[in-house]
């Protein structure tokens, strides 16, 4: 209920401001999972995937480009471990809430088509279950990254975007695909 009110609030803001837009996206990224048990240590992997909603606004526009900032909330789950060799540790369906503020530069080589370069920060709220034997830590709670992506205007009100790029601190790669309501 709170989520639907929040979405309605964003839609209202968007409808009042021609420079604003709402992003709806599926996002996945991975991080290095550090495991320690009985004096041994091992690296494994944590996967995150889920959906996000965001608000964005253009703050500078030229004939062939746009500068934009956005803030997205991510709701998803994580799966940690399971593919490592020595330390036994595997957890799944761990709830994750994350915020992703970003700045974007979009170049339009043709009308309706954009190439987007983005720098983002990633703040996530996520607790890896500990079992008293194994100490597990994943990536960094505050992280940074960059993506390159393609954007296609489907019509006057919607565009589709696909983007991917590295997550810098103990991270891997982030991909995202979604729609933007203009």
């Amino acid at each position: 209920m709170a989520a639907s009110k929040f979405i309605l609030f964003l839609l209202l803001i968007c409808s009042l401001n021609a420079k604003a837009s709402i992003d709806l996206a599926y996002t996945t990224w991975n991080e290095t999972l550090k495991l320690e048990a009985g004096g041994k240590s091992e690296s494994a992997e944590t996967h995150f995937d889920g959906y996000g909603i965001g608000y964005g606004k253009r703050f500078k526009t030229t004939k062939t480009s746009v500068y934009r900032y956005s803030l997205s909330a991510f709701f998803g789950t994580a799966t940690a471990g399971g593919a490592q060799d020595t330390i036994i540790y595997q957890r799944s369906r761990i709830s994750v809430l994350a915020l992703l503020p970003a700045v974007q530069y979009v170049y339009f080589p043709q009308r309706g088509v954009g190439i987007a370069l983005e720098a983002f920060s990633l703040y996530r709220d996520f607790m890896l279950p500990q079992d008293g034997v194994t100490s597990a830590s994943s990536g960094a709670a505050i992280n940074f990254g960059a993506t390159i992506g393609a954007r296609f205007n489907l019509n006057r009100n919607w565009l589709l975007f696909m983007k991917g790029g590295p997550v810098i601190l103990e991270g891997g790669t982030l991909y995202s695909i979604g729609f933007q309501m203009l």
Partner: protein
């Protein structure tokens, strides 16, 4: 339970003005149907003289021939350059080679050069009237089979069919022809082709099958029905028999929405599929394509094997950077079975598609695969591939 992402995408895709082609991304050049450039009205296979001309004069770069006019390039685009061959003998040769690096930058890289395609064929028509019957024949090699344990790379009859334009907008085909379903994406390893039996390998679900296709092409829509009875290049128990229908219609300028259904079965497996697909071109040559589909399959070798209900989706964009050079980005997802325990396979790839001149294509792709499953978080797989394609 994980919320299947195809539901969100299907719903959202249906909300928009939502079009299917030969080199499907070339809708961006404004060509509304594949028959403009290919003998096969659903695309793929040998190019017509017009198609060769379009490649030379619109798509390929002029880096090596900057002072030659587009018209002159088009006129010299034939099999023997500017020598015009008779309509009863239009030969073609295709070659594709792939330099593949599996587990890219993992410290355990696996390098391979794969002969993907070497095709030799011809098209014969008795007169230049559209209604004159056309015969197309292509012989090809099975792609590199080191990992497959199937046929040696011998030359075999890959495609042969007769085409009849029996009424103004009606076309019929009979012979060994590619099955009609979905978007004919050129990448056979795509999650939108490989799990749907559109492969180049015998006994892995070949894309061609002996059958009949009836295709109606109107200005703003087209529809086709296909009945097929298996490919003789596969062992009898792998040969799939069945049928398919496909339809597409314009929903805007350079926007076409379509749907496909296919049902097939062999002695080893039964497979039913349905998909919606969409293509959109942008003035200047860029394009976006999408396909979202469901697959129901049942293993017939295992006694009482349960049916599996899974699905796939493909989102692919081709952005023209300059004439002859495109940036391609693709997001794909495949589930063999929807459910809590089944793996959710993702692949994101990005790369360059380059036509430095007519007859030559280069592709460079960096692809990352991620398997999301509750039981394990495995490392991503990385593939770097460089491809050369010669088409004469």
């Amino acid at each position: 339970m994980k919320f299947p992402s195809w539901i969100l995408y299907s719903v959202l895709l249906c909300l928009f003005t939502l079009r299917a082609w030969a080199y499907p991304e070339f809708i961006g050049y404004g060509y509304a149907t594949c028959i403009t450039c290919h003998y096969n009205s659903h695309g793929s296979g040998a190019l017509t003289d017009y198609g060769r001309g379009v490649w030379a004069s619109e798509i390929a770069a002029k880096w090596l021939t900057p002072r030659t006019s587009d018209e002159a390039l088009s006129e010299s685009s034939g099999f023997l350059g500017s020598v015009e061959l008779p309509i009863w003998f239009k030969p073609s040769i295709k070659y594709r080679g792939l330099n593949l690096i599996n587990r890219y930058r993992s410290g355990n890289e696996d390098h391979k050069y794969i002969l993907m395609q070497s095709d030799y064929g011809f098209a014969t028509q008795f007169s230049d009237k559209a209604s004159s019957p056309l015969l197309v024949f292509t012989a090809g090699h099975v792609p590199d089979t080191r990992d497959l344990g199937v046929h040696k790379a011998n030359l075999y009859a890959k495609e042969y069919y007769v085409r009849l334009n029996f009424a103004k907008t009606w076309w019929a085909y009979g012979g060994l022809i590619e099955k009609v379903y979905g978007i004919r994406n050129v990448d056979h390893t795509s999650f939108q082709r490989t799990f749907q039996d559109f492969n180049p390998y015998p006994n892995r679900g070949l894309n061609h099958s002996l059958g009949v296709v009836v295709h109606r092409i109107e200005k703003t829509w087209e529809a086709a029905i296909n009945g097929f009875g298996g490919n003789p290049n596969e062992n009898l128990d792998y040969q799939k028999r069945g049928g398919s229908v496909q339809a597409e219609f314009d929903v805007g300028v350079l926007k076409r929405l379509g749907a496909s259904i296919l049902t097939s079965a062999s002695d080893r497996e039964a497979k039913d599929m349905a998909a919606i697909h969409y293509r959109q071109g942008f003035q200047g040559g860029s394009a976006f394509i999408a396909e979202i589909g469901l697959i129901k399959q049942q293993d017939k070798v295992v006694v009482d094997a349960a049916e599996k209900n899974g699905g796939y989706q493909l989102f692919q964009g081709l952005i023209k950077l300059t004439r002859g050079l495109f940036w391609k980005t693709t997001f794909e997802q495949y589930n063999s079975e929807y459910g809590d325990l089944a793996a959710d396979n993702h692949r994101y790839s990005t790369g360059l598609l380059m036509f430095p001149m007519q007859r030559v294509e280069f592709r460079f792709d960096l692809a990352s695969g991620r398997t999301l499953v509750d039981t394990s978080a495995a490392h991503d797989t990385w593939i770097f591939a460089g491809q050369v394609h010669g088409s004469f």
